[in-house]
Symmetry: C2
């Protein structure tokens, strides 16, 4: 099965620590890299964890707080130095284009085009679609316009049964046909039913990134039953009122969302610098949702 994974590049909240860089993540699917948020130092983390910067064509920015995008200037500058030619797509709320454009004006002329896609963060918008993947926005509630991102793999082809190839003497063209769910009708009139030579495909996988947000049950229908959920957990629940004031969530709240949405696995992150380790946050979340794990810089999760 094609690999579909998430790697944490930065897991701090606004104040980075000696262990945690500001927020950034890489989603890998079919050897394509999708960058989610781009806090300061993202390009250094990409190098450290050995992701090729030239293979990033799509960058999704959740909101315009510096800890989620101050790394984009340096990343674009580096792409330029690496003599990039291909289009770079950047998705983000209104204002991102101007913020980047302001710094870019100091660069020599870029060798590659940047295509900005402005996100209307109030609704669910389809942002990107390829043959394998759909990315849509998740409306969140933070101090400024903010959204999350849902990565949905497209339904995959049927799997061929190896025995069937021999049994029916299937040609390459016929194999493609049945994998696409089409019956084969031969010149002599024989019909081979695709059902007789294929197995159902694996269930499409899904990953949702819920960036800085208040506890918000409205998002549950959109992320129902997904495989992997990242949800911010800036505070422990004994600081729930501080979380509410600053439009953030607690570990317990992240776990409650995961439980209500019946997701398979939860990753929490964006930890306040006051917590020396993620242990207590994970323990708190596990009281509600046992399949909870902590985001740590460099750590990967299969979707």
């Amino acid at each position: 099965m094609t690999s579909f994974s998430l790697t944490i590049l930065g897991s701090s909240s606004a104040l980075p620590t000696s262990q945690r860089f500001p927020t950034a993540q890489i989603v890998t699917l079919s050897e394509q890299f999708y960058l989610i948020d781009c806090g300061e130092g993202t390009q250094m983390q990409l190098r450290k964890f050995r992701f090729r910067i030239g293979k990033i064509n799509h960058i999704f920015i959740s909101h315009l707080h510096g800890d989620h995008y101050f790394g984009i200037f340096g990343l674009i500058s580096t792409m330029q130095l690496l003599d990039r030619k291909g289009d770079l797509h950047i998705y983000g709320p209104k204002g991102l284009k101007d913020a980047i454009g302001y710094q870019l004006d100091h660069f020599d002329k870029l060798s590659f085009p940047i295509i900005f896609h402005e996100i209307e963060t109030n609704g669910i918008c389809r942002l990107y679609e390829s043959s394998r993947l759909i990315v849509e926005s998740i409306p969140l509630k933070h101090r400024i316009p903010t959204c999350g991102f849902l990565f949905r793999e497209k339904p995959r082809q049927l799997n061929i049964q190896k025995e069937a190839i021999e049994k029916y003497s299937l040609s390459i063209r016929e194999i493609v046909q049945v994998k696409n769910g089409e019956n084969v009708v031969r010149e002599n009139g024989d019909t081979i039913l695709y059902n007789d030579c294929t197995l159902p495909p694996e269930k499409p996988r899904t990953y949702a990134y819920c960036s800085d947000t208040l506890y918000k049950e409205d998002i549950i229908p959109q992320i129902k039953n997904i495989d992997l959920l990242y949800h911010e957990a800036t505070y422990m629940h004994n600081m729930a009122s501080r979380a509410k004031e600053t439009f953030h969530s607690t570990a317990l709240q992240a776990a409650t969302i995961a439980k209500m949405a019946e997701v398979k696995k939860l990753v929490i992150g964006h930890f306040s610098a006051r917590y020396k380790s993620s242990k207590e946050l994970v323990e708190e979340a596990r009281t509600v949702f046992p399949e909870t794990y902590a985001a740590e810089d460099g750590l990967s999760f299969d979707v």
Copy 2:
């Protein structure tokens, strides 16, 4: 003697590597920190090497290429989160205020004042003066307006001779007087010559930071006989024409400047990512100026 030292926070050229962050340095004198340049990730390096961000009151930016200032947005943002109150002075070429201001507009109102000091990079300007230190600009030649910085310790007080305190029964007030180079005249008419109870002070120490620049002999008079010189050395000398094209220097050229200026020690940095180690660059420089050392992230040098 009060400590006066330089710590390298970032030593790469425009393209950071897994070993080197973009340019930034900390000068420490009398427990004050002075930040020189502020490439992406500077705040993370400050944490890593245990410099207290709250103790930085002066930031000197040599020029507006991103690898020398893209870390300043995050650093200011962090100062805000740490609830800074005191003035922050930022010195840099025209344009820096607008570049920072553009990103700051997205912040909540800052809790502290920023005072911008625009540098005219064509001449030698006195930028900063305290009771212990003078900082002046060094005109350099790069693709955009650029300057270096000369940190000159002020002449220090005379040193008291311990035996003289007893011999002349010097009071605290009299000790201060002779250390300031004044003779003491007592009520009974006795005169104590400051020369008889003091020793000359240590020679004031000097550090010069020569950021991105073409080989430029004009700077030599200004840095003559200083204790420590940092000079960029982006390339080996077999790439001298590439260095000239991009307004950079070679290791050999940096060493030639150091030799002609008769400085005590040379630190080279801003190495192109093509060099896997600094060894060959240092070896090249040492053929001309033996007291050459490589900038490495985290490394400190006494001035």
